[in-house]
Structures are given as structure tokens and as C-alpha cells.
């Protein structure tokens, strides 16, 4: 079975600063990795996903993530955040079957 640990429950950051949201996973098989964003009172929206190939994945809204197999990590980064990036971010892992497992989430708060 897979599991995900999001190392920070809350990340406050000032506008236009860079940000990194950390995610570590554990699995005995090859995995697919995802980052979702959840705005208040809305469902989850896919930011990006790693399926195979290049370990640096680019997503929507200027976000990117890097898959590091040796460190079992999939950290999310953005070089310059905006107020509108304030939301809850979830890392998720799957073996490719209907077995998506989510982390507990990281609340990103962007301050002016």
C-alpha cells in the first residue's frame, strides 16, 4: 500500500516570494504522483502529475514539482507566489489502480 506525508501543515509566505511544499511518499511498487489544489468550498483541481519520463514536471499556474526516487519525494515549488495562490494543497500517490492516497494537506497562505 502507498502512503503520503506532507511535512508542513501550514506555510505562510509573502507575495512574490518563492515557496516549496514538501511531500514524501512510501510504496513498494512504482507509483504515479499528483498535486491537487483546493480552494475554499470547491473540489480538488489537478495542478500537475508525474507518470513517467522527466522527473521535473510543470503544471498550471506556474507550479512545478520534481520527482526524486532516491529520496521518495515529490516537492512542489513556485518561484513567485500570488495572493490568489492561497489554498490547500494535497499531494497524492497511486500505483495506477483505483487506489489514490492523499496526504493531510498543506495550507498555503500568501500575505501581501
Amino acid at each position: 500500500a502507498q502512503s503520503v506525508t506532507q511535512l508542513d501543515s501550514q506555510v505562510p509566505v509573502f507575495e512574490e516570494a518563492p515557496v516549496e511544499l514538501r511531500c514524501n511518499y512510501s510504496s513498494s511498487v512504482s507509483v504515479y504522483l499528483f498535486w491537487y489544489v483546493q480552494y475554499p468550498n470547491q473540489g480538488l483541481q489537478l495542478l500537475l502529475k508525474y507518470l513517467s519520463g522527466s522527473t521535473l514536471v510543470k503544471g498550471i499556474n506556474g507550479f512545478e514539482a520534481e520527482f526524486n526516487k532516491s529520496q521518495t519525494s515529490f516537492h512542489l515549488r513556485k518561484p513567485s507566489v500570488h495572493i490568489s495562490d492561497t489554498a490547500e494543497y494535497f499531494c497524492a500517490v497511486s500505483s495506477g489502480r483505483n487506489d489514490m492516497r492523499f496526504g493531510a494537506g498543506t495550507r498555503l497562505t500568501v500575505k501581501p
Binding site: 473540489g43 480538488l44 507518470l51 483505483n98
Partner: protein, 118 residues
Amino acid sequence: GAGVSQSPRYKVAKRGQDVALRCDPISGHVSLFWYQQALGQGPEFLTYFQNEAQLDKSGLPSDRFFAERPEGSVSTLKIQRTQQEDSAVYLCASSLLQGTSGRGNEQFFGPGTRLTVL
């Protein structure tokens, strides 16, 4: 419709009442998933349908939880004799292809139903 819709968006139930939560997936999507999201937590898998067949219900927490998708489109999650621990946001997701959550088979999520059991 443009996306996955869920109704009601909010539901308050007295302990012991039965509730029914509805999910309208994106038209033509084969797979449908239900998740439970407790306060401050990530979504937890409940059950999965491929068309009308419920292929995995391993995440349902008790036999008070029941889900159906009789015609392979709309799905209903029913909770009988609700308890306070059932309070959570219930998310529905659908995907175009069958089974896999990888290989580009993105799950599209609805806005959720927030259930509060008093």
C-alpha cells in the same frame, strides 16, 4: 454540464437519521469515485464504480454506508443511522477511462457535500 456536480452542498442531520448524497459525473465518464474528507485531513477513498459496477468498496467505514450507480451515470451515497463521526465533506470524482488513476486518467472532482451530524 461542464464538471462534476454534487447535491446538496450542505446537509445537517440529527444523529440516527438517514442521508442520501448525490453525484452527477461528467457525461461519458466511465469511472466514479467517492471520498470522505474529515476536517483538516486529505480525502480518504470510500468506493469506486466502473459504469454501474461497484468494483471496490473497501474504503466504506461500516455497513451503514451504501453507494449505488444503477445506470452508470448518477451515483448516490447513502448513510444510514448517521453518527457524529460521519461528519465530513464527501467528495465525488469521475474519470473518462476505467480503473486507473495513473496513465493520464485524471480524476475530476466535484465541490463536495459537507455533512454535519448533530
